[in-house]
């Protein structure tokens, strides 16, 4: 059973990051409603287990190439709540210093490739990260995230093929949240599982319950260990559901309410919470303690972000080039 190899501390760490992700995003939604956010807001509520489960399976010097619903993974790699919120408020203290917004940030020193909008663009880039590891004989792995929608793009195909031919240490991880914006799976592809596409590249493909954080972790850990041993890339698909609009402006009225209802019952955090309690790793006291820590971390981040200055543009024209 997945999870049995983990210590309580490790399990609670996963719990913490799931909750931190949920809590921070909830806070962003509030800030959005208060009109404090600049631009769109992309929420991963209900699919945090994919980001967190995956990142929890990585080693500290592994790299991630996140997509727009991977806050949990970014946090685990060391992106801070403060930086995250400052980015949403378009502040100078955000990771792009106000030059880019919301989910478009990264820091290679912490192993996070900065996400960019064109879907699937980071998949070839991740292949290149893996190539660098391979050439330098480093036993590092890169985890590359993408959505079901992104899997229709040419770059998905080129990247998976390239990585497979060269046996690069990449774990391709799909958030199959059943929609690309308003477009349901059946209008995107004529296959049941995105994991089935792995066949086309001669790599292992596995579909897991994306709302089971330990199942995700186990699948990614397995794929990462294969990759680390030089056996090449894998494709891990997490089946999940986008529980909110594409972005916060979208009321997602095109999503059948029954579908949401069904998936609400499978909430990954509720499930993991129940599991931990069952395993006697979590009780009310610990839960409350963690909730307080989280609340503190989040509120400090909000204060930080709100009190941070906007960029003043004195260096507006600088930094187009590194030299």
């Amino acid at each position: 059973m997945p999870g049995l190899d983990l210590t309580p501390v490790e399990l609670l760490k996963i719990y913490y990051y799931l909750k931190l992700t949920r809590g921070l995003e909830q806070r962003v939604i509030t800030l959005y409603r208060q009109g404090k956010i600049i631009g769109g807001v992309y929420i991963s509520a209900g699919e945090e287990a994919i980001a967190v489960g995956s990142a929890s399976a990585l080693e500290p010097d592994d790299v991630i190439a996140p997509t727009h619903r991977d806050l949990g993974a970014n946090l685990m790699k060391g992106i801070t709540a403060k930086e995250y919120l400052a980015q949403y408020l378009a502040k100078r203290t955000g990771l792009t210093r106000g030059r880019d917004g919301n989910v478009h940030y990264g820091d290679i020193r912490r192993g996070v490739i900065g996400f960019i909008s064109p879907m699937a663009d980071l998949l070839p880039v991740a292949a290149g990260v893996g190539l660098a590891f391979k050439l330098r004989r480093e036993r590092r792995v890169v985890a590359a995230f993408f959505g079901d929608g992104a899997s229709s793009r040419g770059d998905f195909h080129e990247a998976l093929n390239f990585a497979s031919v060269m046996k690069l240490p990449v774990v391709f991880i799909c958030h199959n949240n059943q929609f690309a914006y308003s477009t349901p799976l059946q209008k995107q592809m004529a296959v049941e599982n995105i994991a089935d596409r792995a066949t086309a590249y001669g790599m292992p493909g596995i579909a897991v319950d994306g709302n089971d954080v330990l199942a995700v972790r186990a699948a990614v850990a397995h794929a990462a260990s294969r990759a680390r041993q030089g056996e090449g890339p894998s494709l891990v698909e997490g089946k999940t559901m986008r529980m909110r609009g594409h972005a916060e402006h979208d009321d997602a009225s095109y999503v059948p309410p029954a579908l949401l209802e069904e998936w609400r019952k499978r909430d990954p955090i509720d499930r993991f919470d129940a599991y931990l309690r069952e395993q006697k790793i979590l009780d009310d006291i610990t839960a409350k303690e963690i909730a307080e820590r989280l609340s503190k971390e989040i509120e400090e981040a909000v204060s930080f972000a709100e009190s941070s200055p906007f960029p003043d543009g004195t260096d507006l024209l600088e930094g187009v080039y590194a030299s």
């Binding site: 106000g98 917004g101 929608g149």
Partner: protein
């Protein structure tokens, strides 16, 4: 009656779909959702899923498919969700669509609608003005309306045109810009600029969102006795040099304005053509107002510094008037 720029685009699409059953639309989220900007809202109900096609997230396939359908005599209208993602279909546009008629002699009647431009706090990936990428490519027509009337009339012209047309619709104008639109089937011809304001001190040559800003600059300058003539290009390719030259020969001065970065923008070509074709008439150098050579920054203050506007145009116009 005054309608918005967005409504004008909607009407043109609706009327053309109604008029000619060869016309159909394809793009991401244009059907059930009605498009990221809700331009095609209601189309699915009226025209059905065969003529309002929600596609997978794959710009190259969308454009390629439009080319194929156009070759078979259809009149496809592609919606890019944001013009920024046209980069993903670049090869199909420049290598397949653009060159086909010159090489083979067969028309490729298709329209790519490209929602472009900044001013909506959307950062480097949802604000670009990519028209210059295509301006250099023989075989494409490029239009960029600045008013509801032109938006409607030019889209009709584009759909009826036998060549591939990229229709740059400015996102900032969608809901900001209102204006009268003539009753009936009013087509604005491709290839014709229009003097939007008569004036004597200098010719301001602009397009898209910069026309409104140029007109505002003109009003600002009235008290100073500076009288701007504002030429709205409307079509970028082929350029209406006749209208430009007539204006500049009259005023003796030219200020070219565009929102895209100055370096390598269309303004350079216009300035060069003016030098080549109206040197003796120029009392002063052709001057350009455009964005700096950086990605479109996200944070509002930065974006404001980045974007040309009425004040910046007025400033340059004053300098030019005093040259």
């Amino acid at each position: 009656m005054e309608i918005t720029y967005l409504e004008a685009i909607r009407q043109a699409l609706w009327e053309e779909m109604d008029r000619d059953e060869r016309v159909f639309m394809l793009g991401e989220d244009i059907g059930v959702y009605g498009g990221a900007f809700k331009i095609t809202k209601g189309f699915l109900d009226k025209f059905g899923p065969e003529r309002v096609i929600d596609t997978p997230l794959s710009e190259s396939a969308i454009v390629g498919a439009a080319i194929g359908a156009a070759l078979m005599g259809m009149r496809p209208v592609v919606e890019m969700q944001f013009a920024d993602f046209i980069a993903c279909a670049f090869d199909q546009i420049v290598n397949m669509a653009a060159k086909h008629h010159y090489r083979i002699g067969e028309p490729v009647p298709m329209v790519i609608r490209a929602p472009y431009g900044g001013g909506i706090h959307a950062g480097p990936y949802h604000s670009q003005c990519p028209e210059a990428w295509f301006f250099h490519v023989a075989g494409l027509k490029l239009v960029a309306p600045s008013t509801p009337r032109d938006a409607k009339g030019l889209l009709k012209a584009a759909i009826r045109d036998p060549d591939p047309v990229i229709y740059f619709e400015h996102k900032y104008l969608y809901r900001h810009m209102k204006g009268e639109v003539p009753e009936g089937d009013n087509v604005v011809p491709i290839g014709k600029a229009e003097v939007k304001r008569k004036g004597s001190t200098m010719s301001v040559i602009a397009y898209g969102a910069m026309v409104e800003q140029s007109l505002a600059a003109a009003e600002k300058l009235v008290p100073e006795g500076i009288d701007l003539e504002v030429v709205d290009l409307r079509t970028l390719q082929p350029l209406d040099m006749e209208t430009i030259l007539t204006s500049v020969k009259k005023t003796g001065r030219a200020l070219v304005v565009h929102e895209a970065p100055k370096t390598g923008g269309i303004g350079g070509e216009i300035a060069a053509r003016l030098a080549e074709e109206a040197f003796r008439f120029l009392d002063a150098p052709v001057v350009r107002v455009a964005a700096p050579h950086i990605p479109v920054p996200f944070s509002p203050a930065l974006e404001e510094m980045y974007l040309p506007n009425a004040d910046k145009i007025a400033l340059k116009a004053r300098e030019l008037a005093n040259f």
